[in-house]
Point group: C2
Chain length 224, copies 2
DNA sequence: CTTGACAATGGACACTTGTTCACCTAAACA
DNA sequence: TGTTTAGGTGAACAAGTGTCCATTGTCAAG
């Protein structure tokens, strides 16, 4: 990809005591309330006199890639759990197989508009083999079309999509001209992002007006 | 106001098409993003020209007790899922056993400050027997003291607490004078709420300064 | 015909909340 | 000794966001 380190520098785990306290409070707050705390609520919990104390810790946690945030949006945290199965209802005896909903094929339109109950099936995934990090919010789409054949993704494959913002080089499910397709997301520096098909017969550039990335492909499952 | 019954008029289930769409979008948004949408994000999704269109629907959903909101707070929804067996009717087929963390005994102080990892044990609950609605955020506390003996809750019992705002008559885990105890939450009309012990040797009224309700007791489990 | 529930527009207001700038203290380090 | 890093104060700004008012229209029930 690129020579100079993209994003794996931080050890991801050496938090200071204070940072760990902040993180624990945030997680616990969400666990109790169902939504995330505001900066000032964190401030009050720790008796900080300034919101900036919280900001410093949040920036540190972001730098260490422990949390993600959406700039300017209220109460929007995302915890990057180090593939810890802990929190949720994953029993200890469970195998490494999770099942996730299949929400439709990849040209079905907005997954936003597909109800969770409207799934068309379920897919069992071995997370040890697929490199799939067990988390909620993930879903699967069945591939239609051949825009990614050069990336060894073929029609009929099941692609596991994790809804999140893409990084450069990620394969994403994106909405273009009213249709959802699988493309590689390219963003270099400050230039506007573009999408690239992994098929030499397809044009490399796609219009980015109204680009909607529905999620990042995390794994491909092909039934044989 | 109203001449008759306080709040069980709405059948809780007859939503209009639009209201159902709004609710579905909110649920689905949270499922995808991990946090709740803002009013204006809902507005944009449905191409409303005014945020007030959303407000109307949210008010309707609140009135029908399908959702709960914290006034003035951004992105703070709570969905009252109808699939939750509400203490009274028990799904006949279910013999599902869920296990939930035991966070400490009921005089341990703020569960807020207990880490999820700091649990002291786990409790297996048969939801068919306990009427317990499987949901995250619930936890268990072990009863110390005899303030609720008249409600057949005795020392050593495990009380399953669901963190939420209480209604009149709910048995709650509440913080009084630095100690967490189990009491019945009483609120009549517009009068300030008070707490009542279910033990005739205890005073009926408790100071409500700094009242912190940690959650509502949903079930009691007693090992024999 | 009137009433009321439902749905939506348009504009405005005010609180909530994320963000930033300047500045400070203490410990670790080379 | 100077520098860096973690942690924090204080004040202010601006965008995000919930809320409210007045108004319009539709449609079914009384």
């Amino acid at each position: 990809m690129d020579t100079c380190s993209p994003k794996q520098v931080n050890t991801m785990k050496d938090l200071t005591t204070r940072q760990q306290e902040i993180l624990t409070f945030i997680e616990h707050y969400e666990w109790r309330n169902g939504y995330w705390p505001s900066i000032r609520e964190i401030q009050e919990r720790f008796n900080f006199k300034s919101t900036n104390a919280v900001m410093g810790h949040l920036r540190a946690l972001e730098r260490k890639e422990v949390i993600e945030r959406i700039p300017g949006q209220a109460r929007t945290f995302r915890i990057n759990h180090p593939d810890a199965p802990e929190m949720n209802e994953i029993p200890e005896d469970a195998t490494e197989v999770v099942d996730i909903p299949v929400m439709g094929d990849i040209a079905a339109g907005y997954p936003d508009r597909v109800e969770p109950a409207g799934e068309i099936g379920r897919l069992q995934v071995d997370i040890a083999n697929a490199g799939y990090s067990s988390r909620r919010r993930s879903f699967a789409l069945q591939v239609r079309g051949d825009s990614m054949v050069d990336a060894e993704i073929y029609e009929g494959d099941m692609v596991i999509i994790e809804p999140r913002d893409p990084y450069d080089g990620d394969i994403v499910a994106a909405l273009i001209d009213g249709e959802t397709t699988l493309k590689r997301y390219m963003k270099k520096g400050n230039e506007p992002p573009y999408l690239k098909a992994e098929n030499k017969f397809y044009p490399e550039l796609y219009p980015i007006n109204e680009l909607t990335v529905q999620g990042v492909a995390k794994a491909v499952v092909r039934s044989l």
